[in-house]
Each structure stands twice: as structure tokens, then as C-alpha cells.
Amino acid sequence: MSEARGGRTAYGAASVAAGLAGSLLLLFLLAPLGELVAGSGAGGVRRLASDAELRGSLLLTVLAATAATALGVAGGTPLAYLLARRDFRGRALLAAALDLPLLVPHPVAGIALLLVLGRDSALGSALLSAGVRVVGTPAGIVCAMLFVSAPLYVSGAREAFARVDPRYEAVARTLGDEPWRAFRRVTLPLSLRGLTAAAVVMWARAVSEFGAIVVLTYNPKVASVLSYDRFTSYGLAEALPVAAVLALLALVPLTVLRALRDGRGTDPGARAAGARA
């Protein structure tokens, strides 16, 4: 009897400790952003009307992130499908290699990109002679964003494909579909919500990138670089509106992700599997 009471007391104490630890972490994560948006959000939005540089950098950020995401989706989707569906030698190694850009410090990523795309590199000089300059141009920003955020898309897309039972595709094949047609008619619609979520995560990560971009292309300035530039040149007061607008921009993908996850339920494929269970 007393043993049971003791167990309940220990469970209660552990629950309180866990709740406290979780609340502290939540406060730590949200308080700075909350303070930033609450204190400077309105000022930042007002500043958009008068600050042409801020407007330009935001537009550049959004366009570059969208271009990087488009490139990531185009190249990452087949790669993710391959990793999710095919069993081949070196698959684990390939998956690990794809995660590598997420693990290196981002300025290091920028330096690595500079080595490959800079004017002294074979590729960089070939591109220059073809009239394409990467470093110090919006193309450099897209490259930096692509490098640091594409692994997130590949990983998310891989999970989205893996959630669709390959037997749906098998059935489509027995019903006369060639592989590409089965992918387009069955696998793609069934994984579309997961793929979209992965693309949104990639886009959000690209928008927030700083370290790799600052090495590859300081000018023209994306919003994160502009925020840093104003902080170092003019102090906190000047950096706050830019930072607040960037924080507000982060709410866009967050809202889209929530809509994807909650708005219309889960993936149709996952729903079908649930119905079977």
C-alpha cells in the first residue's frame, strides 16, 4: 500500500520536474523572438515603407530562397525517391553524405563553396569565361542557400516517399502504368503534402541563412546580411526593425506547415494505411 503511494509520489515529482524543464526551454526559445516581434515588429513593418534597401533585400531574400528551393526540388526529388525506394550498395553512405552540409559550420560551407565556385577554381573560371559570375552576385546567394538547405528537402522528401506504401505503385504497374506514369499518377499525389512540407522547410532554412552567404556574396545584401550589417555599422536600434521583419517572415512557412499538417489531415497514403489497420 505504502509502496504504491511512494511510487505515485515519485511519479508526481518527476512530472513536475519534467514540466518545469520543458517550460523553461520553451520560454528560452520563445522569449527572445517574442520580445523582438512585440518590441520592434510594428516598427519594422512601418520601416518597410520608407526603407528601400530593406525592401530590396527582402525581395532578394525571397526570390533567392525560392530559386534555391526550386533547384532543390528539381534535383532533390529524384534523389529522395531513389533513397526511399531503391536498395543499393552505398545507400547509407549517400544518405550520410547528403546530411554533411547540415553539420558543417555555415561559414565553412561558404568557404568550401568559394573553393569550388571562386574565380581560381576550374568550375568558377569556366563559368566566368561563359559570362556567368557566381561569387558576389545573386547566383552566389542562391548557391549558398541551396547548399545549406537542400539536404533538409531531400531528407523530408525521402520520408514523404517512404510513407507511401510501394504496393500502391506496384498495383498501378499491374494496371498498365509505366514507372514514370505510376509515379505521376499515384506516388506523387500521395506524397505531395509531405513533399510540399519539405520544400517549405527548405525555403524557410534558405531565408534564414547567413554564414555561407556572407562568405560568398556580401553584396547585394539579403535580409540576414543587412541585419548584421546594420548591427555592426549602426548598432542595435538600426538592426532591430530588420531583424523583426525577418522574424515575422519566418511565420509564413510556419503557418503553411501548420496548414499542411492540420488543415486537411495527413497524407492520403497514411490515411489509407490507417484505415486498413
Partner: protein, 369 residues
């Protein structure tokens, strides 16, 4: 027709090895085997979803003549496949599912009407029950008008009334269109009812293939016999009795059943009498419980007057009734012998534990393997 010749395939860690069997054109084949024996992998290999690693597979070509389909893509095999879990496309409507692979709208309409799937057109796929999903999946497969239909336990999710109706429709489609069907089932009754050919699979290998009657009555091993539900399997030694009376009588050589010899099989204290072509030596005897006849032991009775060669006196050890069938275990000199009776017969005989009974079965009911 479906003909597998030494077919091997791998699905993950599971391996299908050296599978050989034939389902003639227009015949209905059933695949039976324990869970994890490779039944679905076999169907997937025939459908081309799982590639064959070696061996050959013959399927009907466009004109119906057999052709080598071992390396053909699934979409080129003209094979319909219905999985156990239906795998209806959840992003499409029921009507779109049925029409998915149909050559024209009429084919989809006919298949849906045949199986009653058209009654489900107004409902979303996610709202269908397991049985309804199976009906739609069957209609979807038939709408493509395949020459071969592969069914992975298609009737399992159906309620009994709908099961017999859908089974009848599949059978009708099979007959009318000359479809060659291969169906996985766990239901031995279904296998016996539907099948022209039974393929018994275990651990990725074919243990036995042939007419269901042969597989059920003449299992190739005691393992198969027990898997197929034979309860009386005995280890012992067979001895071939000589060509002399009373076991043998010479006749017109052409009229003699070749290889049929009288055989005595000793198992513990019992001796069975049988006729067949089994070799002498150690082996197993299988007697299906439905072949055993019980009667009240009559102490006053003298010599037997029945034609059953195997007669034993024993005591009822256990009576287990399930619906119209009753299983009675008789202790014959310490050896259990199970008889399957109708519940009515068991009641009329007043069978109860401890009651002395006579058990009998014909020599032809004993199968040696």
C-alpha cells in the same frame, strides 16, 4: 497458363527458391502455406513487381499463347493483382479506382456492375469497409481484362454472405473469360472448392503441387499432412506383403492397377493395412480424421462383417464439438486416433469419455509418405 520453372526471387531478406509448378490455361490455382512462407512474394514475382533472379516464368501472350514473361515489366504482363489489403488509391474516387487501368469506360462499368462496386461510387474510398475495398479492388483488376488474375487472400475481409457472392462472381469471370487464376488462401475448404491446382509453399519453396484432392489426400510428407490439418499422422515401418492370397490374386495384367501392392504398416502396438506403391521401410502413415468411422463397441459381436480392413477397439478419450462437427479422440492401446463426425452422429451414439468404441477405416484411407 502460369508456369514457373525453377523461379527464384528475393524480397528483402526473404528468398523464393526454385519454385516450379503449372496452372493450365483457364484453370484456377490456389497457393496455400503458413504465414511467411512466401505466398505474396510468389504472386509479386509472377506479376513482375518483384524481379525474378533466376528461372523462367511463362504467361499468356497477347494471343493467349504462352510466352516467356520472366523479364517483362509488370505493365506488359497483362496480369491483374488484388492484394489482401486492396490498396485502393486513396486520392481517387471509387469510380476512378475501378476505371484506373480499364481499356474503356464500358469495361469499367461492366466490372463494377458484375461485383456490385458501382453501388459504392458515391462514397469516398476512406469510408469503405475492408470488404468493400476488396470488392472495388477486384473490380479494378477485372476492368483491365487481364488474362491472368492473381489474388492475395481476396475474400478474407468479406462477410460470409458477400464472400460467397463475390467468390461466385470471380469464379464466373474466370469461367466466362477463360481467365487463369492463382489465389492465395488460408482456407483449406476454399482451396478444395475453388482450386484445380493447389501449390503448397513453405519457407519460399514449393513442397507439393497438384490437384487439391491429391495434395490433401496424398501429402508428400508428414509435415504437409499436419499443415493441411491431418490429425492422424503416425511414424512407423512399412512392409510390403507378397503377391499371395489373401492379399493378392492374379488377373489380367492389363487390368491390374500398376504398382498397387498390399502393405502392412506397424506403428507402436497398431498395424495398419493399406494398398499403394510406397516402398518398404520407415515412413509415416496419414489417416484423415473424416475417414475414420466410429461405432459403439458391441461385446457380443464376433468377426467383423464390414469391408474396412483397419478396425480397432478403443476408448473415447475426448469429445470436442464445434457446430455441426464433432472431433472424437479415441485411445487405441495408448495411440490417439481422431475421428471427425457430425454432431448428430456423435449424439446418437452417445459418445462420451470412457465409452468403449470401435474405430474403422478403409485400407485406401491410409496414405504412406
Amino acid at each position: 497458363m502460369i508456369e514457373a520453372r525453377g523461379l527464384s526471387a528475393r524480397a528483402g531478406a526473404f528468398e523464393l527458391r526454385d519454385v516450379t509448378f503449372q496452372v493450365p490455361a483457364g484453370a484456377y490455382g490456389v497457393v496455400i502455406g503458413p504465414a511467411g512462407s512466401g505466398k505474396t512474394t510468389l504472386l509479386e514475382t509472377i506479376a513482375g513487381v518483384t524481379p525474378a533472379r533466376s528461372g523462367a516464368l511463362l504467361l499468356p501472350g497477347p494471343g493467349g499463347a504462352p510466352r516467356d514473361a520472366t523479364r517483362l515489366a509488370p505493365e506488359a504482363r497483362n496480369v491483374g493483382f488484388v492484394y489482401q489489403h486492396a490498396y485502393l488509391f486513396p486520392h481517387l474516387s471509387v469510380a476512378e479506382n475501378v476505371a484506373y487501368g480499364a481499356p474503356d469506360a464500358e469495361a469499367a462499368r461492366e466490372a463494377a456492375a458484375r461485383l456490385g462496386a458501382d453501388a459504392l461510387y458515391g462514397r469516398p474510398v476512406a469510408a469503405l469497409s475492408g470488404g468493400e475495398r476488396q470488392v472495388v479492388a477486384l473490380a479494378r483488376a477485372l476492368a483491365r481484362r487481364p488474362r491472368v488474375l492473381l489474388l492475395d487472400e481476396p475474400f478474407g475481409a468479406l462477410d460470409p454472405r458477400r464472400r460467397s457472392a463475390v467468390r461466385r462472381e470471380v469464379r464466373r469471370a474466370h469461367r466466362e473469360r477463360g481467365l487463369t487464376v492463382l489465389q492465395v488462401t488460408h482456407d483449406f475448404t476454399e482451396a478444395g472448392l475453388l482450386g484445380d491446382v493447389a501449390v503448397l509453399l513453405d519457407a519460399g519453396r514449393v513442397l507439393q503441387a497438384g490437384p487439391p484432392e491429391q495434395v490433401f489426400r496424398r501429402p508428400a510428407s508428414p509435415y504437409i499432412a499436419e499443415f493441411l490439418g491431418a490429425e492422424n499422422v503416425y511414424a512407423g515401418e512399412a512392409r510390403v506383403l507378397g503377391p499371395a492370397a489373401p492379399d493378392w490374386e492374379d488377373g489380367e495384367p492389363g487390368q491390374l492397377a500398376l504398382g498397387h501392392r498390399a502393405i502392412e504398416f506397424r506403428t507402436g502396438p497398431l498395424t495398419f493395412y493399406t494398398v499403394g506403391d510406397a516402398p518398404a521401410g520407415p515412413g509415416y502413415a496419414v489417416v484423415r480424421s473424416e475417414e475414420v468411422v466410429l461405432s459403439r463397441a458391441d461385446a457380443a459381436a464376433g468377426a467383423s462383417t464390414t469391408s474396412a480392413r483397419n478396425q480397432f477397439r478403443g476408448t473415447v478419450a475426448e469429445v470436442a464439438t464445434l457446430g455441426a462437427l464433432t472431433r472424437v479422440t479415441v485411445d487405441v492401446s495408448g495411440v490417439p486416433l481422431v475421428a471427425a463426425l457430425t454432431t448428430r452422429s456423435a449424439r446418437e451414439l452417445g459418445l462420451a469419455p470412457g465409452l468403449p468404441v470401435d474405430a474403422a477405416f478403409k485400407a485406401m484411407a491410409v496414405h504412406l509418405c
